[in-house]
Subunit: 243 residues, 2 copies
Amino acid sequence: MAIACVQCPLRNRKIFDPLTESEVRFMQRFKTGELEVEAGAVLMMEGANAPHLYTALEGLGLRYKTLESGERQVINFVMPGDFIGLQAGVMNEMQHSVEATTSMKLCVFNRNALWSLFADHPGRAYDLTWSAAVEEHLLGETLAAIGHLNGIERVARAFIRLYDRGESLGLASRFEMALPYKQQDLADALGLSLVHTNKTLKKLRDAGMADWQRGKLTILDYPGLCEIGRLEVDGALPTRPLL
Amino acid sequence: MAIACVQCPLRNRKIFDPLTESEVRFMQRFKTGELEVEAGAVLMMEGANAPHLYTALEGLGLRYKTLESGERQVINFVMPGDFIGLQAGVMNEMQHSVEATTSMKLCVFNRNALWSLFADHPGRAYDLTWSAAVEEHLLGETLAAIGHLNGIERVARAFIRLYDRGESLGLASRFEMALPYKQQDLADALGLSLVHTNKTLKKLRDAGMADWQRGKLTILDYPGLCEIGRLEVDGALPTRPLL
DNA sequence: CGCGACGTTGAACTCAGTCAAAGTTAGTGG
DNA sequence: CCACTAACTTTGACTGAGTTCAACGTCGCG
């Protein structure tokens, strides 16, 4: 029933570095199963340890921190190919929660196997570190955005980033993408209030640049959004390892 | 002339995990030299590759991104024990710059040796990944702070975080710490304007909570600052590996 | 049909940014 | 040793982007 790694639908996406036969075999051994969860399920809990690590295969999720005040900071959006649980794997506690926004299908790895990955497959360990470095890079980008961009710039940037990621995964095309998040999710990701996010969305809609309604994002003016969001129009994402 | 790893003054700090004899010997081989730089030196350049990786031994620095608009986002403050250049090591390009704020002394590692670390010393590779995960965690914290705290809260939090780090490294005690950064640096780290940062500093000074002048930070009301900055008063930092 | 979750809109308020100018400090060279 | 300069800090006045509060609209579901 579970999909074999050899047939993993993600493997061939151009965004991911190709794996050798032997690497695939190792990942297959590393993989202990598959998990399907409903929308709303909490995959990882801030402060808790986790016996499993995951790679998202299908569906969308959210990483977030909950502040003392009850507010929420969305760290980023989880898409297929994303590795979940590194912190629980190496540190002994997650520093943020991960939640499924839609129903999701995930590859399950045994946490204990992480060590064997380092011991026996340095190449894959290297890839894991790589993906941690990429995460760090993306977080840095987000930090810079939230630190220096105003509302409309943040939203424009977020849309382009989300669309580009979606497109690289085959989840988006012709400037359309299913984006079943709530406005509150975006607001929490961008550090804006819900109300202001809503008004900003309206502005972009009225300006004919982007439309996001009923879970569907439509990019109407890609270059325009890039300019507002201070992004290169040629937003080629770097290829990355798949775990 | 260069300090041997065995005698590394950082090794014994309680914040760092102890290393075995064999690990120290390996690090010694990994280490290719020592670098001393003047204040203001740029250690890593955003977008550039770097032949060397460093661990800070003495002095303070800054990691930052430069935005298209010329503004600067300070990602974090570099203190002794921090590993510099992971991104250049695994990806092939730094995503942020690193600059020495004071004169600094650094341990130099050859980038090519990074691979041998993965191949021959999985334990150390694991530590490297660990430290990447810690970085990610800290960035997430910062993101949440900038996304949800107002000016005075951010400054208070930054002071506590800096002091705690300094204290764990033996750079601070009795609520005093040398902090030779400029107000502009703090402003860029917190996503605030210089003017507003300055006014906020004055507020904290007038309130008798913290004083930061002429490069010296004095924490006058630790619990008070924690409360403002939404931090646990018991801010024990987790131990971490030293590379 | 009615309820709850989510989205939309308007009005009042406020935190923080910008502009502009003056005050301090440290370093340099005469 | 002092004068001059450049970098950094401090302060006030003004402005505006974004928050908060509050109400209303819309959609889907039991």
